[in-house]
């Protein structure tokens, strides 16, 4: 039997400068409720361009597992609890200072393969981050890891990243500000270009 014919994929185009009414009409950057299981965290940071200037029209999207390490997706059939109060998807625009933020919970570890078998290589807790902006003809894909997480040392994806660039993927735990309402704050800047350029992935 011959392989099925493949269709040509639809190309990407920039999200442009006018996406907010369409894509940010709902509040998307508060992922956790009071009932959500897990350590509540606030993630905040800035999006910066190649001259260190704020990118005021970026759109960031995050996707993560719940506190037990379970994704709310039919493909994740492992015997781990789903949290009915937690979807795992978030979206934030950046403001005139390039600042974005999310209120969520720290995800649990997830497997590198997916079998869920004993002995499976595990990934350190991380959040997938998709970066869209005017001036980006294709989105960029990165990951947020937690700088104070011991499991980073054995994470199979961080191991693929040149050692001198790994720090760009590590969100730093900082003192909780008043705005955070007592949650732990992790700071994660995204540098699109130049000094300290964030590691982006090809998927």
């Amino acid at each position: 039997m011959s392989a099925p014919a493949r269709l040509g994929v639809t190309p990407t185009q920039t999200v442009g400068p006018f996406f907010a009414p369409g894509l940010l009409r709902d509040v998307w950057n508060v992922l956790a409720t009071d009932q959500t299981v897990g350590e509540r965290i606030r993630i905040e940071g800035r999006v910066l361009d190649g001259e260190g200037n704020a990118v005021p029209d970026a759109l960031l999207e995050i996707w993560q597992a719940n506190a037990a390490g379970r994704f709310n997706h039919p493909r994740d059939t492992r015997d781990l609890p789903l949290d009915p109060t937690f979807g795992g998807f978030g979206r934030s625009g950046s403001d005139t200072d390039g600042v974005y933020w999310f209120e969520t919970i720290k995800p649990g570890p997830v497997p590198f393969g997916g079998s869920g078998d004993d002995g499976e290589v595990m990934q350190a807790p991380h959040i997938s981050v998709v970066v869209h902006a005017r001036g980006m003809l294709n989105h960029a894909q990165t990951r947020l890891y937690f700088a104070d997480e011991a499991a980073n040392d054995t994470d199979p994806v961080l191991a693929l990243v040149p050692a001198d660039r790994r720090a760009t993927l590590l969100a730093q735990r900082v003192e909780a500000g008043e705005r955070a309402g007592g949650s732990v704050v992790y700071r994660f800047d995204i540098v699109l270009q130049g000094r300290g350029e964030t590691v982006f992935f090809n998927i």
């Binding site: 009414p21 894509l23 998709v130 693929l160 350029e197 982006f200 992935f201 090809n202």
Partner: protein
């Protein structure tokens, strides 16, 4: 057709024959926003093979009629059009129950956005935002008005071809797509560096809708058909620990 002369970067996410490079200097805003270091190849794991697509469905049926969803009770001014098509994976299988979010300028080429201040008139009856879910056959359908062309500041006398922005998630993070749908025979195609950021003519043409008289409704609206094909892990070999795509298309 005019060929744009430009510096084209080597950093590309995904298929180089399909997806634009991050740096396409004729589109000036790419110059300081394009990553310059090599992308790290990411072996797909549950983190990427899952995604928000199957669980996102915030919408109401009225969201798909952009001629009447402004909340004023009035109807948008402009050429009424139907935009419909199928959302497919690379193997041609429909992707049912998946969210499309779209946004566009009004008939005069003006967006409802504080940063769009060119003197095209606003229409109080048109917000330019819509969303819908595909049906069991992967079919989506919007009723809207044909967007106008609008000027931008990229180069002298620059005008964007008429377009509608589309955002789709599909089944996984791998299939995330933000793109623009264009209309046939737009005079600005040859001059638009965003359109030409896509590297091949074959791929560019996949962003152009087709006029379809079978979609057109008599004495009501003109019909355009545009199918969308999402990239996914289905058609590319990946870690053999992963099973074949699920039978229900997930």
């Amino acid at each position: 057709m005019t060929t744009l002369t430009t510096t084209i970067g080597q950093i590309v996410r995904g298929d180089r024959d399909v997806f634009p490079p991050y740096l396409y200097a004729a589109y000036q805003s790419t110059r300081l926003r394009a990553p310059t270091l090599p992308l790290v190849e990411l072996p797909l794991s549950l983190s990427e093979l899952t995604g928000p697509g199957p669980v996102i469905s915030r919408m109401t049926p009225e969201d798909a009629d952009m001629t009447r969803n402004s909340g004023t009770g009035g109807e948008a001014i402009g050429q009424r059009i139907i935009v419909t098509g199928r959302v497919l994976d690379e193997l041609g299988r429909p992707i049912p129950n998946t969210l499309l979010e779209i946004w566009q300028a009004n008939a005069s080429g003006r967006y409802v956005h504080r940063n769009d201040q060119w003197p095209g008139p606003l229409d109080q009856n048109f917000l330019g935002i819509g969303r819908c879910l595909t049906d069991a056959n992967g079919v989506y359908r919007f009723l809207t008005i044909r967007p106008g062309l609008y000027p931008w500041k990229n180069h002298r006398n620059a005008w964007r071809p008429a377009h509608i922005h589309f955002s789709l998630f599909g089944r996984s993070l791998v299939s995330r797509l933000v793109t623009q749908m264009y209309f046939p025979d737009d005079p600005m195609f040859a001059l638009d560096p965003i359109f030409h950021g896509v590297p091949t003519d074959g791929a560019r043409q996949r962003m152009v809708a087709t006029y379809d008289h079978d979609v057109t409704e008599e004495a009501w609206a003109l019909g355009y058909r545009w199918d969308i094909v999402l990239h996914g892990p289905e058609a590319t070999p990946f870690d053999e620990r992963w099973p074949a795509p699920l039978e229900d298309g997930l």
